[in-house]
């Protein structure tokens, strides 16, 4: 069973690769940043936002719509649309697309409106 999950995880990683070689840009190796997503330990890179790190890991669903609970991914990546709101370090409604990833962050999917803290 465990092996099965590892396989899925591995698949996700290959599906949404980071760019290593690019004809115009350089993407040098970056320092690794540890965080958790829904309780599971995950790894991102220095310079990532929370949303870019999750995307690189294959997690495209970042929030759920309030009424119909439809899956939402990020849309604008510049803090305009709100479809990337997540709970970060126990604070609701954080725009993960413009929030830099930091060591030890606790990132969670949120259902509904989120609490005001």
């Amino acid at each position: 069973m465990k092996a099965f999950y590892v396989m899925i995880l591995a698949l996700k990683v290959v599906n949404h690769v980071r760019i290593h070689k690019h004809p115009i840009l350089d993407f040098p190796e970056k320092k690794v940043i540890h965080f958790t997503f829904n309780g599971q330990p995950q790894i991102g890179h220095e310079g990532d936002t929370i949303a870019s790190a999750l995307h690189a890991l294959g997690f495209k669903e970042l929030s759920k719509s309030i009424h119909h609970k439809r899956a939402r991914g990020f849309y604008c990546a510049i803090g305009n649309c709100g479809s990337c709101h997540m709970r970060v370090n126990h604070v609701s409604n954080i725009k993960t697309c413009i929030t830099p990833l930091e060591e030890g962050m606790i990132v969670e999917l949120e259902e509904g409106l989120g609490r005001i803290t």
Partner: protein
Amino acid sequence: MLKRLGYPSLEQVKSCFPQQDVLLKPKAIIECYEAIPCNPCETSCPVHAITIGQDINHRPQLDVDRCTGCGMCIHSCPGLAICVVSLKQDQAIFKIPYEFLPLPHVSDVWHGVNRAGEVIAPVKILEVRSTPIQDHTHIVTVAIDQQYLYDFITIRSPHE
């Protein structure tokens, strides 16, 4: 055709080429069919062979006699709309802009591709130039059968 499909008709392409005997020396071929506000081709040419003028919306005009085929305009054109062409025996020699990886190596044989993106004939890679001033727009020199003079536009890796 250009407006609907994104590539010009054969007549349009031919209108950008000089007489074939002129091409015994390398000359720039400028495929910039629209009036757009743009002028780096003009300002980059060391011998002032390209004229756009004060109104930068004018289409570039090439003075073929002046053009030395140096290729400075190739990597200066943000539309990648310029190549340098010459004829040598039964071969057409193209210098084209290329912004993809992997880069070809000299004496490789790659696919020659037409303006619609279709593979038309093999091309031989003669040179790959990547100086800092080109800023990641590599200039690849290739040889292709002369019959593809008006068809060939770019290359594609055969290993895709």
